[in-house]
């Protein structure tokens, strides 16, 4: 029997009991729908993770000062000041020795509270240099805005640039430009509004939309190198809390990051720093994708097992009911393999229809999940249906049809023609 005749025969058999055929595919429909929806939501999550990594700046290597555990504090006889983190010497070394550096942007956490009226807020006040905006992929909002410029720190007129979220908190509906922000006990004039379009975080820590930036020189002259007391006579000093190293050549980042780590390891007796390399995170996120795919495939396999067993059940019932038909076909010249292919094609067609319906349902489910998750707030799940996931769904449904249709089809083919013909 040629393939066209096979298709016609299979179609005629399946449409004979249309409702039953559709019900038989229900398990597959739900299984495939779950796979497509999970893949869509997973893909959305993955893209979101990549976007966040990229919002850190793929060409950046970010150093962060980390306070070592108390037990490791090396107290010198000379001083009770605990020094840790990225030092001025590190900064100078990187600037003078490292070649793959386009920008070097130091950031200090002033560790001063920002007040709204009498109350403190969770807004962070950081001190930095004009290149901060470029290194952190932030942009200015409002035409009147400007960012810090080198001369800002040199005059006795403390100015700051405020993140959009911080501005909303501090000023509500009032115009923030020209307004005043109180940091510690000093008033700063707002000269600009900035925004991180990707909702990025400063070295993965502070929401860039919820910070207030001031000139580094201003902070130093006001608070003298950001040393502060911890009580009981112990103080700590951090030269730079964060250091953005923007690379000239992205492809050379792994090498540069390696050399930077070696350098820091050699000059820092204890690990009081952290090296963040978004480029490496991006690479590892791509590797994670492979693992994610394997996990999803496993989930798909489990959910389709149930659907497949349903198909097998229906096919076995079908074959029992159609034993006489099998006998007639054999008596009229059908070979065992003709019967095998006919029933195998029926189960594959059933699961493929299930796969197609399931893909549609999966896409709908993912988009409903996305809509529902966004109802409460501004951010939520993001569902991205890729053509790959639909191909996976179709392939999986065909494989399920073959896997669970083979045994019933083989059983049908093995029927003795005469016994089948006498079946009532």
């Amino acid at each position: 029997m040629n393939s066209v005749e096979m298709a016609v025969t299979v179609y005629a058999s399946l449409t004979r009991h249309l409702i039953r055929s559709l019900l038989a595919t229900l398990g597959i429909v739900l299984g495939i729908a779950a796979v497509v929806a999970m893949l869509a939501i997973g893909e959305g999550g993955r893209l979101e993770a990549l976007r966040q990594i990229e919002s850190q700046g793929v060409d950046n290597i970010i150093l962060r000062s980390v306070k070592p555990a108390e037990g490791n504090v090396q107290q010198t006889s000379r001083s009770y000041t605990q020094r840790y983190g990225i030092t001025q010497a590190d900064f100078d070394h990187i600037r003078n020795v490292f070649e793959n550096v386009r920008l070097l942007v130091p950031v200090m956490d002033t560790r001063r509270d920002i007040y709204q009226g009498q109350q403190t807020t969770d807004i962070e006040a950081v001190a930095t240099i004009p290149e901060f905006l470029e290194a952190t992929r932030c942009r200015l909002v409002d035409r009147r805005s400007r960012f810090l410029k080198p001369s800002d720190g040199k005059v006795l007129d403390p100015v700051c640039v405020v993140g959009v979220k911080a501005a909303r908190r501090l000023f509500g509906h009032q115009d923030p430009i020209g307004g005043t922000v109180v940091v510690g006990n000093i008033s700063f004039r707002v000269i600009g509004l900035m925004e991180s379009p990707g909702g990025g975080r400063l070295a993965g820590q502070y929401d860039l939309n919820n910070v207030v930036c001031m000139p580094l020189d201003t902070a130093r002259s006001l608070w003298g190198g950001i040393t502060f007391r911890m009580g009981r006579g112990v103080a700590e000093q951090v030269d730079y809390d964060f250091l953005y190293v923007a690379a000239k050549d992205i492809d050379a980042i792994p090498g540069s990051a390696g050399r930077l780590r070696s350098y820091l390891k050699s000059v820092h007796p204890q690990v009081d720093y952290e090296v963040q390399v978004p480029y490496e995170l991006l690479q590892s996120a791509r590797k994670t994708q492979r693992i994610f795919t394997i996990v999803m495939t496993s989930i798909a396999a489990i959910s389709l097992l149930v659907g497949g067993i349903g198909i097998m059940n229906i096919m076995l019932a079908n074959i029992f009911e159609r034993t006489r038909e099998i006998g007639v076909r054999r008596a009229l010249g059908a070979r065992k393999r003709d019967i095998l292919w006919q029933f195998l094609a029926e189960s594959v067609l059933l699961t493929s229809i299930g796969g197609a319906l399931g893909s549609g349902l999966g896409i709908a489910t993912a988009s409903i999940a996305e809509t529902v998750s966004r109802m409460g707030g501004e951010s939520g799940l993001k569902a991205v249906v890729t053509s790959e996931s639909l191909i996976v769904a179709l392939v999986v449904s065909v494989i399920t049809g073959i896997t669970f249709g083979t045994y019933p089809a083989w059983k049908a083919a093995q029927l003795d023609p005469l016994t089948a013909l006498r079946h009532e």
Partner: protein
């Protein structure tokens, strides 16, 4: 001087040499068909008669290759066919043998045209050719214009005509009919028998199992079976 065209001078179509079918029941060997010798020549009309359970159907199933003999040789057009593998057996069934059953055995979910096409599908005929041949056969059997009907929409006599059309689909040399009039009233049965007579006149070899002794008069050759023992009459 030419050879006269009589039954005796035609080539043998079917030859049975010591063909037997036995089965065991409770340790006893039971003969469904005792060793049988028979030659059916091209163009013969053979009736097989005998009481129920005598072995008529066993003989017909052996002819139709739906059953394997326990011993003996079955030759079809000179070729031994009883020991063929399943694939080759199916091919012989498809191309050399047409079957007509007492209960028609039409596939109810297919139209009558599609039913007639089934053997041609297994013979690998192109779709267009298959449909034309099915329609021609249905026309020939008085079912013109009913191609799209389902078997459930037809009378018993019409169903048996469809079954005969289906048996003729691949133009096999022999038609095996298992009590083809058994489910029909006398008049319709007579009509169906006339179709077989016509086919016989057209040169087809007919082997018909029947209970009805009247049909013997249409036969060129007749056998009777009693307790698995065949006797030519």
């Amino acid at each position: 001087m030419g050879v006269p065209d009589t039954q005796q001078t035609r080539q043998p179509l079917i030859e049975l040499q010591g063909l037997a079918k036995t089965y065991e029941a409770g340790g006893t060997l039971i003969y469904a068909l005792r060793p049988t010798e028979l030659t059916v020549r091209h163009g013969a009309f053979l009736t097989v008669m005998g009481p129920s359970g005598s072995g008529k159907s066993t003989l017909l199933n052996l002819f139709g290759l739906l059953m394997r003999p326990t011993s003996g040789v079955y030759r079809l057009e000179g070729r031994p066919v009883s020991g063929l593998n399943d694939n080759d057996t199916s091919t012989v069934r498809c191309r050399m043998i047409g079957m007509v059953f007492q209960s028609f055995n039409l596939l109810s979910h297919l139209t009558i045209q599609e039913n007639v096409c089934v053997p041609m599908q297994y013979a690998g005929l192109p779709r267009a050719k298959m449909h034309l041949r099915a329609q021609a056969l249905l026309d020939q059997l008085g079912l013109a214009g009913r191609y799209g009907s389902r078997p459930t929409q037809l009378s018993g006599g019409q169903c048996q005509r469809v079954a005969i059309a289906r048996a003729l689909a691949n133009d096999p040399p022999v038609i095996l009919a298992d009590e083809p009039t058994g489910n029909l009233d006398e008049k319709t049965g007579q009509e169906v028998l006339e179709i077989f007579q016509e086919l016989h006149r057209a040169g087809k070899t007919i082997i018909m199992v029947t209970h009805n002794p009247i049909y013997r008069k249409y036969a060129t050759q007749s056998v009777t079976i009693h307790d698995g023992r065949m006797k030519e009459s």
